[in-house]
Symmetry: C2
């Protein structure tokens, strides 16, 4: 009998996608499902970006440079400067989604058995990349009671071993929406300097902050060799299917090593690099409009959630996610029940159980993540469903 590898067995199935069959069954029964379970925005990809695709002038869909089109990297450098991140174009490697930037970082900085510390709850796919790279994720718990602020730095200290090589910070955070402050980022700086660690900064949601600006890991001074920015155009320009990201660092040795991984897979997709290039030329008010839309949605969803009996939702400062504590026995059961056994005027809502975002077993059983990627009317209807559901859910607890 042929065997699957151990890492193939250990690779986690997507915690969000495991509910998909139940959603499909609900739809087949004629029930409308509001998808607040996944970060796929309903915002249109900007026309300028679509035009760049439609007008792409090429005869041969050729390999690009393994680091990405030079013209794109130069534009990206300009974009980064515009947000106070002073990097040269040759400090940027274009990646196939933010996903690949994370995988490259794990592989180029850590060896099998090494450890990376991540505040939990965290983006579930970090687990997958860690297993692919043979490394271990060590979780430090942030709590809904604190609004998912950075855990006390002593909690990080307690988890540091000889195997610890890096800390990952997703800012603004997926799944919590927390926007880390300059003070918190300075605390991280102190600990990475003290223990000689990399700081991997996933800043996919940089532009989506609602009270004050994002403070980038790249704004920290004196840690140029430590900081690796793992970026993506997916959310910024509502272009998730483009699979264009970036690996950015001022650490020359790390750039050289990562370039070898980039050469291995030849290049990132050509057409979407053109799309990324066009996105940088969007008018300056582009983010104002999308951000205002997301902020209205956030305000609505947070207000609706906190108005429900027994529900608590801290106000997320960024990204387009909210975490809510519900009066339920088990978020996995509840989310499945919403799809399998419930409807409200023939509608229901799909949420992401928070258990999949925690590294520590047993945490998140009363929490769900809501992605406010639908318009205000849809969010209101989805909240009507959730409110009605919580009143009759058999596993409701006090």
């Amino acid at each position: 009998m042929l065997q699957i590898s151990k890492r193939g067995e250990n690779m986690p199935a997507s915690p969000i996608r495991k509910l998909v069959p139940y959603a499909e069954a609900a739809k087949k029964r004629g029930t409308k499902v509001y998808h607040l379970n996944i970060g796929q925005p309903d915002i249109e990809t900007p026309k300028e970006v679509r035009d760049a695709i439609h007008n792409a002038d090429f005869k041969i869909l050729e390999y690009t440079h393994s680091a990405g089109l030079e013209s794109y990297r130069k534009k990206l450098s300009g974009y980064y400067h515009s947000v106070g991140i002073n990097v040269d174009y040759n400090q940027i490697i274009v990646t196939t989604g933010g996903s690949e930037a994370i995988l490259f970082g794990f592989m180029a900085c850590l060896d099998p058995g090494d450890e990376v510390i991540i505040p939990e709850p965290f983006y579930a796919n970090y687990n997958g990349f860690a297993i692919a790279a043979g490394i271990h994720v060590v979780a430090v718990t942030s709590t809904i009671e604190s609004g998912f602020a950075l855990p006390p730095i002593e909690e990080f200290e307690k988890k540091i071993t000889a195997k610890t090589k890096a800390i990952v910070i997703c800012n603004p955070n997926n799944p919590t929406g927390y926007n880390y402050s300059e003070k918190e980022m300075e605390e991280l700086k102190a600990i990475i300097l003290k223990h000689n660690l990399y700081l991997f900064a996933d800043e996919a949601y940089r532009e989506f902050t609602y009270e004050g600006k994002q403070f980038s890991a790249m704004h920290l001074t004196g840690v140029d060799d430590h900081v690796v920015l793992m970026d993506t155009i997916s959310k910024r320009y509502s272009a998730c299917g483009a699979r264009i990201g970036a690996f950015v660092t001022k650490n020359k040795d790390l750039l050289d090593a990562t370039m070898k991984f980039a050469q291995m897979r030849l290049c990132s997709p050509y057409l979407e690099q053109l799309a990324g290039e066009a996105a940088i030329d969007l008018p300056p008010d582009y983010f104002d409009v999308t951000k205002a839309e997301y902020q209205n949605r956030r305000d609505l969803i947070v207000q609706r959630l906190n108005a429900m009996e027994g529900v608590y939702c801290p106000n997320p400062g960024g990204a387009f996610y909210a975490m809510a504590k519900l009066p339920i026995d088990d978020s996995d059961k509840f989310c499945q029940w919403l799809l399998e056994s419930f409807n409200h005027n023939n509608e229901t809502v799909m949420l992401a159980p928070a258990t999949g975002f925690y590294g520590t077993a047993g945490l998140g059983r009363q929490e769900v993540r809501l992605a406010y990627v639908l318009n205000l009317t849809a969010i209101n209807s989805a909240m009507d469903c959730l409110e009605a559901a919580l009143k009759i859910y058999p596993g409701r607890i006090v």
Copy 2:
């Protein structure tokens, strides 16, 4: 001091790209460089494929299914049936280039420390994927004297250990152009059955065979659980920059495991999946035209090479590569010298030293790989350069 990981240090730099600075310097001096060093065809991406991009009807560049657009997978299934490979669409996972299919196969079937046997010379990036996956490539030598036929199966037997999990066969072969016969494929079948191994089949060049058809690993019977097809549209439709490939197997457990790797990175690029879909609708004579062009090029380059004193080039049955033995001391030195110290009427040629394609140190020092990706006129001029160069190269040997 922050450290790069060991695998980051061990990751090989691309053996082809290391000559790039010398080529750039030659061009700056005004020397025309014929690029026979890399498999980037000059054939236009079919208009139908480009039209699919230009007319792509979408408002949001969304995530696709992690296994790829269902419509594309269904079309791919039809394509495979047309070449005698009977796979269902749900036995196909669309990957980001053939590169990702190789990486997924290595990761899902092998654990760190496991071994994969590959006839050498082989596609150099297999080394990179092996290091990323923490596995070892064990080479079995094929020789230019035999035209790079499959080495005697006893040579494989000698290399099999408890750690051996798979054999990789690239057919038609990059870099040798060898087209493995049905008899050779049956020999591989016997050994994978005997030792319970996977057979990874890289068939990027399936359509480009000049004497008889390609015999796919998927044409073998009774080894459905063993065979994994690692495919790509890059060469087939001259769409290298699309980064669209496929991981194909009838092994259900392996598909399930590989899907988790696919979910980890969310999806492959959306637009190029549309391109891949359009390519399947190309008229049936599409490959006749491109194949005839490649065959003319092959005939010319092989004739020109063998007419040079001291040069031997076996006639490659497929792909668009030829390997030639030259009367030189060292192919790395020679290829660099061609760019750095030689020109013929202000022109020169860039070749790939074969050393980068061998796993065994010291092999390939008198061999080069030539990619016949340029038109007949350019190939003739490039061969004029090579012929003149061999007459005056200081490291010429008898």
